[in-house]
Amino acid sequence: MSSGSSTLSAERISAARSSPNQRAWRRFLRSKPVIISGIFLLVLLTLVFLWPLISTYKPDATTDAQFKPPTSTHWFGTDVHGRDLLSRTFYGARISLLVGAVGAMVSLLIGVTWGAVAGYVGGRTDNAMMRAVDILYALPSIIFVIVLKSAFEKDLKTFLGHHFSIITASYASMVFLFIGLGAVSWLTMARIVRGQVLSLRSRNFVEASKALGASHTRILFKHILPNIYGIIIVYLTLTVPAIILYESFLSYLGLGVQPPQASWGSLIAEGTQQINSIRIYWWLIVFPGAMLATTLLALNFLGDGLRDAFDPRSDSRK
């Protein structure tokens, strides 16, 4: 026997001793892209949260240094008001990451549950639940954002201003951004999960567990959902950028974060004006854009790693 097969058998032995979850984590942490992405995201998060302590520039302090290209004092250059772009990018990260996280959570919790239940129960329930999704899907979320913002923003602002501080109050508009974004983010997820569950529930292994008398919850969570982890995670990695970009679209329309706050989306929306044939202040679009792209790529690699590690079929694949 060659040495190759002996390591294989050794692995089998160690695998037999640990639970599937432990094996999954071990697989997860073995992949190089995952480690690099993880470190990058950790560093980014630390920087984002500690930035007010580190930075010498306030993100909303205007100066005379308008449109200065990157130098040793302003690493990312300055914008039209002479504000430090590096500072703004890090402040913007807070909102963008939060928006992405909220969107992902909503689509994970509501979307997956909704889709799985609809697909599993089937029949009239499925029909009704999916029509509800259709109805919500057909109503443009931008209407929700405007209605919520204009109807409640003032009250919420006054409320937050009275009970907390002005700083909290200025985040009031974001609450509605989140609700509006959350309202749309789970719909497609629900549809996809439902489609998958529909095709899985008549498979042999599901029929088998049914015959063995397993409860519906057990079948759904132990047998069906683990089989669609992959597509859920892939779709999540699609949702996060979609939500962050949707926020940039709202900023483009003037419905995003309130100035002088920034988000990556609003920075990019401002930066697009720099792409013209006349004169280009490249740093205004390149730096926020690159930050966004790198972060999304890292999230994506992390998602891929997760998917590979937790897929129930991946044991047999290796």
Partner: protein, 620 residues
């Protein structure tokens, strides 16, 4: 007379009969089908030079043009056909279907053939309406002015009123009664004469509350006009406009109005076709033929795509119309507009919303960029019913800490002038009194006097503005200026346009961004806005002395005395009471290549009549 018969298998399918007049011009086409599905239809030439459209039952249409050219375009039926293909969805056929769709759509795209226009203008957002009574946007009004003319029209050079449909007019010595004499050769584009009764109809229509004209106020200088418009008088005959005979019109005003002849050139007062409007209702502009009173007829109006106008050969001044076909491209993106212009797809770019402010420091140096002053002011309203803005010292302090020079140099960048007074400069009959400039020292003192030393205890307040890049940048600058110079907390409230308007109208704001563009060349177009009863006041400011001064000024026939009185009024507005503070005067910016386009002149109203603009042949 010619007859064409289409036969197949010895059966007659369609017979088309064309008749021509003595000059061999196509007068009518009559088609009749003996076998379905070919539809039957008739076409009669209407003498005008416009295409006529025939809608067939299956949703396609044919367009006949003078000279017998026939073009047709199918749209809807094909789309449904495509959907039918899609419903027979099978994996094996999927690719084939897609290829079919692709070819089909490419074919649809190709089927468009229009002659090139002589002049292409990028005009601003898609017009909401081209009805003279309803139009409110300056960019839209430029198209309207090409189609419909009033008693007077604007001189292309100076934008002063010159005779339009009226050849001459007489003013009674007291300045109250006007008699207009219409030209004998003033006719609609369809050939009927334009009569004094048409003018009376058009003006009454504007005033009639049913029409819902937002600019009806332009006619309130006429006797009983305001009462009729607000429903106090029901009988339109009581309004002071009367047709003496077909060519004579008599107008009675409320009080002497020195700028009434200028007003007659304003698009709201243009003459519109009564029969068409009564027949087609709100969609009257879609009627074919559409009788127009101006230098052009409406060739077609493709939403978001193109509005094409054609020279009206029956216009009284047709000889001086410099171009035949003019296209207006609606554009909402400054970048696209600039790209189209640079690529030579358009000859003129002229909407101020389409000028990329960021790039004006480079663009402004180019020979095809033309800048000039016009009557427009960007200013700020204070809600003086709210604390602490009820205190004039606070208002003054805020006004004095605005570094207007920084705003025009760094943000707007198009050659705007910092404004310390409300009425823009340049009017020959009026010069504004001085207001406040940048003086943070005095401002801090005033604020301390008002009870807020170094901004202490100053309540948080909001600056309201309409979402937009330049306005957002101005808001950020203002916030920083007030925070740094006065130590007061201003919050930025960016609202989408309708929220912004309602908040302003309902006085649900603290400090609000505003702007005003003059309608006619007279200080009154700016000053009457802040009279106590004016619907556009929105500041809560009521000052009896101001009202009296403006009224007295407008009664005054002597220009020198009038200027003095109006100056006193403006001093109240921008120096003593300060319910508003001006920030800058707009600059007009036009892009056109001087070696290709001529006939554009700069004037205070920012009006450039289309008929005077000539496209020169490109020299190579």
């Amino acid at each position: 007379m010619s007859q064409i018969t289409l036969k197949s298998n010895a059966t007659t399918r369609v017979t088309t009969t064309r008749s021509y007049d003595n000059l061999n011009r196509l007068r009518s086409i009559r088609s009749s089908a003996s076998v379905s599905p070919v539809a039957s239809f008739n076409y009669i030439d209407r003498d005008a030079n416009q295409p006529l459209r025939v809608d067939l039952a299956d949703g396609s249409f044919w367009i006949y043009e003078y000279g017998g050219r026939v073009s047709s375009r199918k749209r809807w039926s094909e789309v449904f056909f495509g959907i039918r293909i899609l419903t027979s969805f099978r994996i094996s056929q999927c690719a084939l279907t897609m290829v079919l769709w692709l070819t089909f759509f490419l074919l649809v795209g190709c089927s468009r053939s229009e002659p090139k226009a002589d002049l292409v203008i990028i005009n601003g957002a898609e017009p909401g309406t081209l009805d003279p009574a309803l139009v409110t946007v300056q960019a839209d009004s430029r198209i309207v002015r090409a189609l419909f003319e009033g008693l007077t029209r604007l001189d292309p050079k100076t934008a002063n009123a010159i005779p339009g449909l009226a050849q001459r007019w007489e003013i009674s010595p007291d300045g109250i009664n006007y008699t207009f004499y219409l030209r004998t050769n003033a006719v609609w584009s369809t050939g009927e004469p334009i009569t004094a009764a048409d003018v009376v109809y058009s003006w009454r229509r504007v005033l009639d509350p049913i029409t819902g004209s937002e600019y009806a106020g332009q006619l309130f200088f006429i006797k009983n006009a305001e009462d009729f418009s607000s429903g106090k008088i029901k009988d339109p005959a009581q309004v002071g406009v009367k047709a003496i005979d077909a060519r004579t019109l008599q107008v009675e005003l409320v009080s002497p109005t020195p700028f009434f002849v200028d007003l007659c050139a304003f698009q709201t007062l243009a003459v519109v076709p009564r029969q068409t409007i009564e027949k087609f209702g709100d969609r009257w502009l879609m009627a074919t033929p559409l009788p127009t009173s101006g230098a052009y007829t409406l060739e077609f109006w493709h939403l978001l795509d193109k509005i094409r106008v054609r020279k009206n050969p029956r216009h009284w001044d047709a000889a001086n119309i410099q171009n035949n076909l003019v296209d207006f491209l609606p554009s909402e993106s400054a970048m696209t507009a600039m790209n189209l212009y640079q690529a030579g797809q358009a000859d003129i770019l002229w909407d101020k919303n389409l000028i990329p402010a960021d790039l004006m420091d480079v663009l402004g140096q180019r020979p095809d960029c033309h800048r000039y002053n016009y009557l427009g002011t960007f200013f700020m309203r204070f809600n003086i019913l709210k604390k602490p803005f009820d205190d004039v010292r606070v208002r003054k302090a805020l006004a004095m800490t605005i570094d207007r020079k920084r705003i025009v140099e760094r943000i707007t960048r198009s050659g705007e002038e910092p404004a310390t007074h409300f009425v823009p400069g340049g009017m020959s009959i009026y010069t504004s009194p001085p207001g406040y400039g940048y003086d943070p020292e005095t401002a801090r003192k005033l604020l301390a006097e008002a009870g807020f030393p170094n901004g202490k205890n100053f309540p948080p307040f909001q600056y309201l503005f309409k979402a937009g890049e330049t306005d957002k940048q101005i808001a950020v600058e203002l916030q920083a200026m007030w925070r740094e110079q006065l130590g007061i907390p201003m919050e930025i409230r960016q609202a989408e346009s309708k929220v912004y308007y309602t908040s302003l109208h309902d006085m649900d704001y603290d400090v609000g961004r505003s702007s005003w563009i003059g309608d006619y060349n007279d200080p009154n177009t700016f000053l009457d806005m802040f009279m106590s009863n004016n619907g556009n006041n929105y500041t809560g400011w009521k000052n009896a002395k101001y009202d009296e001064l403006v009224r007295e000024g407008n009664r005054q026939m002597d220009p020198k005395k009038r200027e003095k009185i109006l100056q006193q009024a403006e001093t109240l507005l921008i120096h003593d009471d300060l319910p508003i503070t001006p920030i800058y005067f707009y600059a007009g910016v036009l892009f056109y290549r001087t070696n290709e386009v001529e006939g554009i002149h700069y004037n205070l109203l920012d009006e450039h009549p289309i008929f005077a603009i000539k496209k020169l042949k490109r020299k190579t």
